[in-house]
């Protein structure tokens, strides 16, 4: 018994110049907000950009973008709809706002299915919002997608950074490119994370201050792009 879907995954992604997985060791560090804002910023700059939400059990990019009642077009597969200049793909097109409890094997299967049937057009960037940690989605992306690179998000927390250290160790062991590390939700002028990143020999792409206006901008892209958070993400996008 052979699963035929795997053989077409890289064919489906072959017209994408850069696949950037926005990842972290822990949840709650702001991956989805960084991924969504990064994708919007790249699109605003004129890059053809896609956003793929791979957090199947807790997707949130659709809430950030304010996506409602949209369905992909079916044409020899599925074509991601355009949202604010992004080609946008998420499991919520099918699950709606209902709970989707999935075990590891189900996450793998859903991921392979979407990679095998989604027809991305020619893109400069595909930003992938990863679920937290080094579970099934991360391992499958590493197993199946040839040219993926990682952008790693941490907070100033030593706990968050310790999990990042493990993620970096995994990626390095597999010789997966790491674009750099971003420190999100910064509340003081500590250089702890920056020093740790330098000690790891990785690019420190910047720090994003804790922005208490960000919650008000969720679901409103124009407002989101006016935040301090978005301005910082813009400077990070310039380094990709």
């Amino acid at each position: 018994m052979v699963d035929p879907r795997i053989s077409v995954v890289n064919e489906r992604l072959k017209n994408i110049e850069n696949i950037v997985a926005v990842s972290s060791g822990k949840g709650g560090v702001g991956k989805s907000l960084v991924a969504s804002t990064l994708a919007l910023t790249l699109a605003k700059k004129g890059c053809k950009t896609g956003l793929f939400d791979l957090d199947f059990t807790s997707p949130s990019t659709h809430l950030i973008l304010g996506v409602q009642e949209m369905q992909p077009k079916e044409e020899k597969g599925i074509i991601p709809p355009e949202v604010y200049g992004l080609k946008y793909m998420s499991i919520v097109y099918y699950s709606g706002n209902q709970v989707t409890p999935l075990r590891g094997a189900d996450v793998s299967n859903a991921l392979i299915e979407l990679l095998a049937i989604t027809r991305w057009e020619k893109l400069d960037f595909l930003v992938v919002d990863m679920p937290p940690g080094i579970g099934d989605a991360t391992l499958d992306l590493l197993r199946l997608v040839k040219n993926v690179k990682f952008l790693v998000i941490t907070t100033p927390s030593r706990l968050a950074f310790e999990t990042v250290r493990k993620l970096v160790s995994l990626l390095r062991g597999l010789e997966i490119p790491i674009v750099g590390i971003v420190e999100n939700m910064k509340m003081d002028d500590s250089k702890f994370i920056q020093t740790q990143v330098k000690n790891l020999g990785l690019p420190f792409l910047g720090e994003i201050p804790f922005d208490n206006k960000i919650e008000d901008a969720i679901g409103n892209v124009d407002k989101l792009l006016e935040t301090v958070f978005a301005k910082k993400v813009e400077s990070i996008a310039a380094k990709l």
Binding site: M1, V2, D3, S7, G77, S95, T100, R103, L114, I117
Partner: protein
């Protein structure tokens, strides 16, 4: 025509296997289609016929349906997936991503969404025959 994408996957996977095994002419491909995904076999057959390359000129594609059997991880109850009990929108969502079944279907005995698909999920290659 989501079946087209799956047919492409079948042709691509068989081509890769044939290449690896030194098969120059594929004579038979047996495909199993799980009922959970509700693939339209006619469309899949048509797509396969349109996507054939030289290697597949004499290939007989045999497509067989497999019942989707589900087993509850909490109470152990086993049952067969029945699309007739679902509305059109839900059935279509499961058609595109079969794992969405966990969103809409619960164990008929204990109501848990924690069940496994024992068999009959999607499209699988059962066997390939050919001339070396």
């Amino acid at each position: 025509m989501h079946e087209w994408a799956l047919a492409e996957a079948v042709i691509s996977a068989v081509s890769q296997i044939a290449e690896k095994e030194g098969i120059r002419e594929v004579t038979e491909v047996k495909v199993k289609v799980g009922e959970l995904q509700q693939v339209e076999i006619d469309i899949l057959e048509y797509a396969l016929s349109q996507l054939k390359t030289e290697k597949f000129e004499k290939t007989k594609f045999s497509i067989e349906k497999a019942e989707a059997r589900l087993k509850c991880r909490v109470c152990g109850h086993e049952w067969v997936f029945n699309k007739e009990k679902l509305d059109e929108k839900t059935a279509e969502a499961i058609h595109f991503v079969p794992e969405i079944v966990h969103t809409y279907v619960h164990c008929p005995k204990c109501d848990s969404p924690d069940f496994e698909v024992l068999e009959g999920r999607g499209v699988w290659l059962e066997s390939i025959k050919g001339v070396k």
